[in-house]
Symmetry: C2
Subunit: 260 residues, 2 copies
DNA sequence: AGAATAGTGTCTTTTAGACAATATAGG
DNA sequence: CCTATATTGTCTAAAAGACACTATTCT
């Protein structure tokens, strides 16, 4: 069996590198709170276009490990439930006239030319997650001038194909909403029907009759009503609900149909 | 801005390589014909486990270009409508006690040790497609002793995580069946209701009442009845149907709900 | 009493789902 | 006429969808 027909010149790879070449991870970290859906974006020092929080894959990590590590760097949250939604790869996806080796060199203390690995072909594996943005204090780092939440209805100019990634993540989230229980990681353990109702309305960006919504969601069995109420001040106290763990896990594995 | 904190030792990449390191493409090529669903698998020379048709990504290609090229190598078909369904990556996913550098060297004319790039960490981007297996004469090559169709109900021992990939592809196909029009690329331009009905039954692996099936599928608008019949021999001639191009494209973009 | 929010039930329309007899083509 | 296959419609049950009044809590 001859192997080298595939034309990689050097049959021995360099294991000394910590990260794998050509592979990046980008996370669409969606934040929900109080009927608002936002996405966490960062802006590199000296540029005026934005990026998704991303990074590279270590030799010792699985894809999901890397995505979790990268998400944690910006949110400080563990246990984000990240879901892969696509890989993006084309020879020119990391070409952007607003982010060039020249410009980077200008504001950097080292010379970076277009042979630098940073400007090589990268395939990006993308994940999305949903969290409560009020619980997150976004962390930038030395190279990111800003790291903040943006409304998904008002995305700033993005570098590369990161805008496509956001759109793709939202599309996937909306599809998943109809087939998997969403909100387990996002809502408090015990939540009210109006709370989960608002969440679904916000994600789908459309109104859902709360009476019918409640009937249908309870009919799936994934949430159950408790014998407790939540105190919310000068108003009638709403009942609390929680996810049924067994039904929830089952639904995650097998998928369900939730017609809202 | 300092870049090398990410610890890739050599900032300049080697552009002379035709393929990108660490990235592979694997295709789950599903074949349907006459109520049978099969998958195209290949067996490397001298081994008794099977692989999906796969390959590497050229510097000049997009992911989908590569997937199409690789699919064509085995099927000779252009215009396969390949859909990405996932990326698989973990440090040990290409470790398999039945496919080792030692065994490969034994049957090869070159020395391959575990530092060979072939045994490095690869992230595989996976695509699936659906075609008519009767139209395909599978092509092996010098390194693949066999390349044949296997029933999806009877998958032989697979190398690496390729069995997982098949399962994941089938799961995705079944999900897509409920949200996107399936069969456009597979069925002849004009097809009969019994034909598309059998296709759906086979993919979902369950019976669907043909009367209700027809009503519902026509109600979605993606197929329309023609004023022609197909001659099928000594039986009543079935009407022909075809996809409505506009509705089809629309459904592909936006997705639809097909409750069967 | 008033303001704000939650909770609940019924009716109508639509859809799902079960079900079997008739029509056609060719031999 | 026989065989094999295709076509078609109705009924019932379930679900979707529209809709509005009452209940609670606190000030």
């Amino acid at each position: 069996m001859q192997i080298d027909t595939i034309l990689m010149n050097n049959p021995v790879y360099d294991q000394s590198e910590l990260y794998l070449r050509h592979i990046s991870i980008d996370n669409v970290i969606l934040g929900y709170h109080n009927k608002e859906l936002k996405v966490l974006l960062q802006r590199p020092q000296g540029f005026n276009k934005w990026l998704l929080p991303g990074g590279y894959l270590k030799r010792t990590e699985t894809l999901i490990d890397a995505a979790e590590r990268i998400a944690k760097e910006r949110t400080n949250l563990d246990n984000l439930f990240l879901k892969q939604f696509g890989a993006f790869g084309s020879p020119d996806r990391t070409k952007d006239s607003d982010f060039t080796p020249q410009k980077l060199s200008d504001i950097s203390d080292i010379i970076i030319d277009d042979k630098h690995w940073m400007f090589d072909y990268f395939v990006s594996i993308c994940f999305y997650t949903l969290t409560d943005f009020e619980k997150v204090q976004p962390n930038g780092d030395a190279y990111m001038e800003e790291c903040v939440w943006w409304s998904v209805d008002n995305i700033p100019p993005m570098l590369y194909d990161h805008k496509d990634m956001i759109n793709s993540a939202l599309k996937t989230l909306r599809l998943h909403l109809y087939h998997y229980p969403i909100g387990y990681e996002l809502l408090p353990k015990k939540f009210t029907l109006p709370e989960i109702h608002s969440l679904y309305e916000t994600i789908l960006n459309k109104e859902l009759d709360i009476r019918n919504f409640g009937k249908k969601l309870i009919a799936t069995g994934i949430i159950k009503k408790l014998d407790e109420k939540k105190k919310i001040g000068a108003h009638r106290s709403p009942y609390l609900y929680m996810f049924d763990d067994n039904q929830y896990k089952d639904a995650l594995n097998k998928g369900i149909a939730i017609i809202l």
